[in-house]
Symmetry: C2
Subunit: 313 residues, 2 copies
């Protein structure tokens, strides 16, 4: 079994080709050409940790991929990153383990950021006035990076709880050519931005329905397990169109889960990435619509990013 | 991440201590002290392959364990073993990948054989006249090996379809002190044996209700996925007591699944390994009962065998 470390993985990462592979993966998923068994979840209460195991095979591909990824939120106190993980590729012809990718959670972070890029391609308004980033962590950083190819806008509003993290992010973003305003009031962010990405593990809504202006697109990345929620249920219900990676996952534990389960989405168009990509359409139909993308993360994204990395090795 | 190969794993394997760990694991599972998400399954039709991903954490243990194991039934034509796989131990404190065990499917084979040993300890009649082994593969071999500690009986009846495989197994077993009769008629085997282990991937019953004599114990190992069945449904329904590793799995895709789903087990006592082990009882109450053990394989067995291997490294 070949073992590849993080340095090798990051050197082989090509955002454009992997974005294309992710689109192919989403299309295949919605066309039911992907075997993707239900996600396995663990919770480690005492260590403030969780773990999920995701696996997928795009039928007729050479490899199937299994991923173990975790978040242990006391890790930073010991100088370790919260996110840990690895991915593995196995032969779909013989079952033999072929490649172990010791990515330390990076591949999950990157394929999630690229799904955010695809969501923005499909949903963002034509004239982005300012980008709102809710959260200051790694995913908040990667999302902003990968929006560069979608919009020329370099105005950013950044929301976070920690002044230290705000200042740190701000400095890095300005070094990359962004102009950043920081705030600890998410409503203030929403008042200035019409392309918003939320990236926190919050269990209480950070944005309310009344905060959001017409014509805004929001990509909600944080909610990937029951109980997590970044947007008020009324805000979710207010969207004109909701883009989901997988309805089966988002309706259970995504950002839209509560609104979906309370039957508040009857008059909202809900569409999967794979459906809209297969039709070659954009989600946004005019500059007044509120659109929302809900990312819970699909194992087919893991399979496709691994394919993209192995192709460049 | 430490990587351990098959040779190192087999050198660290100690059947007695691991049998004890498996018992602890079964007890913890039935006492609901194990996090064990539903098994992930793949099917690779063109390659005649299947794969399952099992994972478990016995709460408060240092590691959680994830296993990927597969069977690709055209592999032997290419000189590869059908069974492939690996296990991984992750820290339950930080999520960090700790140990990769490249066991090539051996740990699954061994923990299954040891579960057969435990089943025989709990169910076998006092006076074993002859051991019946249905199947001639690796699992058929390991089951016989690990029955040595349960019974002094060295008389064996062996069923298989291939004269070549029968002869080969026979030769190896005789070298280990067994007296072996071979047959291609499973009813003939059942007429001579009161401790039977079935180890085939059959999708059609090999043993019928009328084949089995009173006082017989059967351990059914082969059926671990929907559609597999080694024992006639009427035979399953005829058992006085059925021992299952996990009722949730066996009732879905174990040997007893069809009888269970057809409501034929209403008057049969069905008990989990962990329940009976916790009570310190044997399953068999007299020498006339027909007992049946249904093994679908639990992720907690994987976690416990990994614990046993790591303890001896």
């Amino acid at each position: 079994m070949k073992v590849i470390n993080k340095t090798q993985i990051l050197a082989a990462f090509d955002a454009d080709s992997i974005t294309q592979l992710l689109k192919t993966g989403f299309i295949a998923y919605s066309a039911r050409q992907v075997q993707m068994p239900p996600v396995q979840h663990f919770r480690f209460e005492a260590a403030a940790g969780d773990c999920c195991i995701k696996s997928a095979w795009l039928e007729r591909e050479e490899y199937f991929v299994v991923k173990v990824s975790s978040g242990f939120y006391h890790n930073p106190q010991q100088g370790l990153p919260s996110n840990q993980g690895l991915m593995m590729a196995f032969s779909a012809q013989t079952g033999k383990p072929q490649v172990l990718l010791l990515d330390e959670g990076w591949l999950t972070a990157l394929r999630t950021a690229l799904a955010g890029r695809i969501a923005a391609e499909l949903c963002a308004p034509q004239n982005v006035q300012a980008i709102g980033i809710v959260g200051t962590g790694m995913q908040a950083w990667l999302q902003l990076q990968h929006l560069k190819t979608v919009t020329d806008c370099r105005q950013v509003w950044l929301w976070g709880r920690s002044p230290h993290h705000l200042a740190d992010y701000c400095q890095r973003a300005e070094a990359e050519g962004f102009q950043v305003n920081t705030t600890q009031n998410a409503a203030e962010l929403a008042a200035h931005c019409n392309l918003i990405v939320t990236t926190t593990p919050s269990r209480e809504p950070l944005l309310q329905a009344e905060d959001i202006r017409p014509g805004t697109h929001i990509t909600a990345v944080g909610s990937d397990a029951e109980g997590k929620q970044e947007l008020a249920t009324a805000l979710v219900a207010k969207a004109d169109t909701i883009l989901v990676d997988a309805l089966s996952q988002c309706s259970q534990y995504g950002e839209i889960a509560r609104a979906y389960q309370q039957n508040l989405l009857a008059s909202v168009a809900v569409v999967e990435f794979g459906e809209i990509l297969a039709r070659g359409e954009r989600v946004r139909k005019n500059e007044q619509q509120i659109t929302l993308a809900d990312l819970t993360g699909l194992a087919i994204q893991d399979a496709q990013i691994v394919k993209g990395i192995l192709a460049k090795l």
